[in-house]
Amino acid sequence: MSLLDITDLTVGFDTEDGHVHAVKEVSLSLEEGEILALCGESGCGKTVTAMSVPRLLPPRTTRLTGSIRLDGRELTTLPEPQMRQVRGKEVSVVFQEPMTSLNPSFTVGFQIAEVLRRHENLSRGTARRRAVELLELVGIPAPAQRIKEYPHQLSGGMRQRVMIAIAVACSPRVLIADEPTTALDVTIQAGVLDVFRDLRDRLGTAIILITHDLGVVADIADRAVIMYAGRAAEQAPVEELFARPLHPYTLGLMKALPAAAVGGPGGRRRLAEIPGMVPSPLADPAECAFHARCPSGQDDCLAARPSLVRHGPAHLAACFHPARSGEQP
């Protein structure tokens, strides 16, 4: 049993235009102290998959089936009062935009202490001392002064560190980080990624990192799930994924990066394009969702939908015609 087990997760939303199939039959597991990247382009379902764990999806319009077990405990059917104990304490979230996720009218010290007082019943003074320690943990200089400041007094990188401090205040088992460095400059991004690595090393926190950036995945993740049109297309340890991508979509993404086209022999090359567009999430035909854009697509891709098949010890891909190993990105 893993720390977190997601089995056959299917999530849809009822909208004016019809039923949106956001996530389809996704199964994945997360081990203690592991950094797992959920990776893919806009609309692939990476955020919806992750936010299903703390149940942060709109309850009235969300249709969710499947199972999510944290330490063996089923979260999808947990009554809301118990779920509230899980949220923020066992599973916590760092959002993309640190300015809008912090309350502008409270000091950052108050906002960190709030979590501790609510979940751990700490006194005001103890909570404040702990808040200072947490700010120190996430690498904020002069934390004793900083806790008295308001979010607008901090830079973007500092705010994101405060968000992380709030998220890890109760030593959660699972930390979900949704594009945590996308809004930050590169020189700041490197420091924030170091904070995540450090938390995992020191506290053993398991992290689900939602990102569209393969550079971030390569830098920090242990394992990655590449998602396409609501399904997992490929899943592998990071070194393996980058060395031997099997799904044509994964390969396409890697070749499309500008970094892949420079520095090679013969000077500047063209970027590899993935033609066409992502299929509409309103339909869910029984065929490979990628076949229309796929360079190795054949007739059988239209006849049935490929399921995730094991190609190596921990390497799974959902493709009838995977890239031969050795085909370099």
Partner: protein, 330 residues
Amino acid sequence: MNEPVLRIDSLVKHYGQVRAVDGLSLTIGQGEVLGLVGESGSGKSTVGKCVLRLTEPTSGTITLGGRDVTHLSRRAMRPLRRDVHMVFQDPYSSLNPRFSIEQIVSEPLLRHKVMRRREAGERVAAMLEKVGLRTEMMSRLPHELSGGQRQRVGLARALVLEPKLVVADEPVSALDVSVQASVLNLITDLQRDMGFSCLFITHDLSVVEFLADQIAVMYLGKIVETGPTAELFTGPRHPYTQALLSAAPVPDPARARERRRIVLSGDVPSPLDPPAGCRFHTRCPLAFDACRTVDPALTDPRDGDHPAACHLVTPERRPDAAVPGRTLEY
């Protein structure tokens, strides 16, 4: 030598107390792509706006094709706008939602009285084809298009008058990787075919490495280093450029984990009150006394075309004896 398409001399733009651009000079030759790189607040977008006179420079001069346009009136500027166009970052807010694609792309033609409305259709169709859009798209409205298609419309609008200079401000930053690749290829192809010069403003180093002939790196309103792309990427001279290159995400786990990252301490100082001396000294791992008082000028130690604004590149200022082991390699 040919007259450069764009020459900026000692450009200064202050918004009230904010010193967004503070003494910047650059030139773009014919058919050349200059990548202007910087992080948020470095002033890179302000430079683009000044070139198009979308905002009034505080001082300095901007010369387009040999003509000083810094103080031209709006009326006098108008005919020159034929030759300079802009592509914006956000393909959602930069197209009028009530205009059809045909109206959007034909507007520059009509505005500059190049042709009448009924003649414009053919030209618009040809332009759309060049940017990879089918002519059926002409009657569509922007909301019916994907982000990548919209950005193609933005390109078509900017290029329909065959301008001499295109200012592109983060044109692919809002796009997904796979869409970004096709738009970058398109910009490369169009630039080669049509031969326009381009000021390409971005925060993304890998994009300019792919696309630009020349790079200029900005920090707090000034250029800290500039040079030919390959040279700047293989031998960055300014500590900020070095840090920027070392921090950029690399899509290769082995390289990403083994490389030595230069982690900069602290945050970018406020442009309200930039540091004295070298503006980078508050975060520079190599800063010494002179950096805190004397602002280094852009200098190439080998008198080439790859200058950096750092005391460490000018031999007479190098404090090698004072700080052993703290020298830059180049």
